[in-house]
């Protein structure tokens, strides 16, 4: 009996998986501008159970569900911002591909530019020293 149930499960599994992944194809907006907006928004949202994939790319069923949520909310006339807020409310900032600028992430956003400024400062110092050295050898 157990074996039979397992066999049934195996048989139905592809159907279940298939019908969920169907979402992006079934949901497509007729309006190309809306569709482009949806795709863009999907690329900004992370598939929570995958390795660094956005929900736009992922084949996971969670990603398909999230795509469905995004498109449903868009159809209800919500803005990108409202949809993102709704999703971060439920799943936290982890779902955003672009980390928000908050107290937690000030350093993350500033670091590359801080390093640029710091290294630039050191470079100016080195160049001015090298210039003086040129001047002194030419005396």
């Amino acid at each position: 009996m157990k074996k039979f149930l397992f066999f049934l499960l195996l048989l139905t599994a592809p159907l279940v998986a298939g019908s969920v992944v169907a979402a992006p194809v079934g949901d497509n907006f007729a309006d190309p501008a809306m569709e482009a907006r949806a795709r863009n928004l999907q690329r900004q949202l992370r598939c929570l159970v995958c390795q660094g994939e956005s929900i736009d790319e992922s084949r996971a069923s969670l990603a398909a569900e999230l795509r469905h949520v995004v498109r449903q909310q868009m159809a209800d006339g919500r803005s990108d911002r409202q949809i993102e807020d709704y999703l971060t409310g439920r799943y936290g900032n982890f779902i955003l591909m672009k980390p928000p600028l908050e107290a937690d992430t000030y350093f993350l956003w500033a670091a590359p530019f801080l390093v640029l400024i710091l290294a630039g400062g050191v470079a100016i110092f080195v160049i001015s020293k090298a210039r003086k050295a040129v001047a002194s050898t030419e005396l």
Partner: protein, 643 residues
């Protein structure tokens, strides 16, 4: 028997690496202070060759076990299968944690052998470099023997192996890891030379280490390009770079190695930035080690990460702390004794190389922080964030763009004092090409993107400057050619990246027999799916006709494969390229009654991404070839009398 032979070879290699370390460091002392120094040098050279032989023997043994499917060895049983094609039996050797660490040590030993055979510079410098290389080899051999022994037995031996992750069963992946390791580990030679220079206090190290810097950089460039190409055709999403932590782990050493190549040039030619170049050489290999730690410790999990064993992570962390800490300690102690301070003007080659380093360090910081910050934040207060492509688009891209703008100027300025006006005048044709490229994109490409116009203008600027260089300086020194090629490669890659990211068109549809799909300029007809049997997989192969009016131009066959031994399925894409544009098809899910989801992408200029990498690598090879042709730094010979 064969497994024990490999084990024994590893133990001999460990002993020899310790001999090499001790003898090499003894040989670093001057002859007048140590009578045995000259003998010690000879021993260090011999030990380097001996270690190479024994590590190669161990590696050969493991390869033999894979080829003959000796499932009494645990690694083989867990990662191979009798039905696997021969090539994937061989690549399976490094498709797992233990084997890949053995490959790592093999490459490390190869570089030790190369340092011994090709070693330029003074004998004390070479000896000290061998000593440091021996210490590194010993550390990694200990790591293998104690935490990741590839020769552990299984009793009883299973009848069949568990197979290899199908994602890794691919010709691209056959050469990708060895290439990447040649780069990663190649930076160990620069590291060893830098440490040796600090120990011995010799200044000619930048020249002695340059061939190794070049080899490592070329290998890293090819390895990254291969990895990106693999991700493109294998993962089935048409993307070529995902800012995945594992990809970042390979990008960081490349950025530092690029900075090192430029800084070391200044050190060699004009004696500038001595201490900074040493620091970069240490940083380059440190990035490789950190990358290894990130990938191997299981801190990150991804396709590339085989190990998720905390003891290994701990061991690697101790190893990193000792290597980096030791080198930095040595640096802090000895660097102040080096002569510093070069003399050059604000407008000079040196200034440009310095700016190159400023920007490269900043973009490297962007990748470093972007990769590690989420881990640090999670450990600190449990907050989880994602750092995805938009972060790098906002930080990495603008800084790298600024760097690219300056690239053509550098080679046009003289050492010590350059003539800015003359340089700019010489670049007028390049500027014209840049404007034409930008305008052409503005007119041809739709939709219009400002970033796209800028990208093509900069690409025109880079390629134009290199072309002008190649034409004007005909017959001049080939180092200028090498730089021109590498810089042109950057422009080529930039075009590919911009074309693919901005102007890619795509279509996604459920298709049944006879259905038509339009994507970009192409019309596709779905002709159904057949079942095929591969050597170790079953495939559902779609037949999709590329139409030219009513005529079938060609048929493309993307597949969905199932690997029963591994219990996994994956997509095999079909790509048709014109050289200027890729048509890319991937087969999705079976929707019943002969209907399947099909994804199609048209990626303009996609091949340029990897072509540019190849051009860059060719620039590196040209420079390397020139370096190796000149045997020793002999004083300029008298001109040959005319015949």
């Amino acid at each position: 028997m064969i497994g024990e032979l490999g084990q024994l070879a590893l133990c001999f290699a460990l002993a020899l690496s310790l001999v090499m370390a001790a003898a090499g460091l003894t040989g670093a002392r001057p002859n007048e202070l140590n009578n045995g120094a000259a003998t010690a040098r000879g021993i260090a050279h011999g030990a380097a060759m001996g270690m190479l032989v024994f590590v190669a023997l161990a590696f050969g043994t493991l390869t033999y076990a894979f080829v003959t499917s000796d499932f009494s060895i645990a690694v083989v049983a867990n990662n191979s299968h009798t039905l696997k094609p021969l090539i994937y039996k061989i690549t399976g050797v490094w498709g797992n944690h233990e084997g890949s660490m053995l490959l790592w040590v093999l490459v490390l030993s190869l570089y030790a052998g190369l340092v011994s055979a090709l070693g330029r510079g003074g004998e004390r410098l070479t000896s000290a470099a061998l000593g440091v290389q021996g210490l590194l080899a010993a550390a990694f051999l200990l790591f293998i023997l104690f935490t990741s022994n590839p020769f552990l037995r299984l009793d009883p031996a299973p009848f069949e192996g568990a197979g290899l992750n199908p994602l890794l069963q691919d010709p691209g992946l056959a050469i990708h890891p060895p290439m990447l390791y040649a780069g990663y580990v190649g930076l160990s030679a620069s590291f060893s030379y830098a440490a040796a220079a600090l120990i011995v206090g010799e200044e000619g190290w930048a020249r002695a280490a340059r061939p190794f810097m070049l080899i490592a950089w070329i290998a890293l460039t090819c390895g990254i390009a291969l990895g990106s190409w693999w991700a493109y055709y294998e993962l089935g999403w048409g993307g070529f770079w995902f800012w995945d932590p594992v990809e970042n782990a390979s990008l960081m050493p490349w950025l530092v190695a690029t900075a090192l190549l430029h800084s070391a040039l200044a050190t060699e030619k004009s004696g500038a930035f001595r201490t900074w170049t040493l620091l970069l050489a240490i940083a380059g290999f440190s990035m490789s080690l950190i990358g290894t730690f990130l990938v191997r410790s299981g801190v990150l999990s991804s396709v590339h990460a085989f190990a998720t064993d905390p003891t290994r992570g701990f061991f690697i962390m101790v190893l990193i702390v000792c290597a980096i800490g030791g080198a930095l300690g040595l640096f802090a102690w000895r660097a102040p004794t080096l002569k510093g301070g070069a003399a050059f003007d604000t407008v000079s080659r040196e200034t440009m190389l310095l700016l190159n380093n400023v920007f490269l360090v900043a973009v490297c910081a962007s990748v470093f922080v972007g990769t590690l910050y989420p881990l640090a934040l999670d450990a600190y207060d449990g907050a989880k964030i994602s750092v995805g492509p938009p972060y790098y688009a906002a930080t990495f891209a603008p800084i790298f763009f600024a760097l690219l703008l300056l690239v053509p100027l550098g080679p046009r300025l003289n050492w010590r004092r350059g003539d800015l006006k003359a340089a700019l005048r010489a670049l007028i044709p390049a500027a014209a090409i840049a404007v034409i490229a930008g305008l052409a994109v503005l007119m041809i490409a739709t939709p219009r993107f400002l970033t796209g116009v800028c990208a093509f203008a900069v690409a025109g600027w880079l390629i134009g400057a290199s072309a002008v260089d190649l034409i004007r300086r005909k017959g001049a020194r080939s180092t200028a050619f090498a730089a021109a090629l590498a810089h042109a490669g950057l422009g080529v890659t930039l075009m590919g990246v911009a074309g693919t990211t901005l102007w890619r068109s795509e279509a996604l549809a459920v298709m049944g027999p006879g259905d038509i799909m339009h994507v970009g300029p192409y019309t596709l007809r779905f002709d159904g799916v057949t079942q095929e049997q591969g050597p170790n997989y079953r495939a559902s192969r779609a037949h999709i006709a590329l139409m030219d009016g009513a005529r079938v131009q060609t048929t493309m066959t993307p597949e969905q494969r199932i690997y029963p031994a591994e219990g996994q399925d994956m997509a095999d894409t079909a790509i048709r390229t014109t050289g200027l544009q890729d048509l890319y098809l991937a087969l999705g899910d079976d929707r019943g009654q002969g209907h399947w989801t099909v994804r199609a992408y048209v990626s303009p200029l996609a091949p340029f991404i990897w072509l540019g990498g190849l051009v860059m690598a060719m620039g590196g090879m040209l420079s390397l070839w020139r370096r190796l042709r000149v045997r020793a730094p002999v004083p300029a010979a008298a001109p040959q009398p005319a015949e």
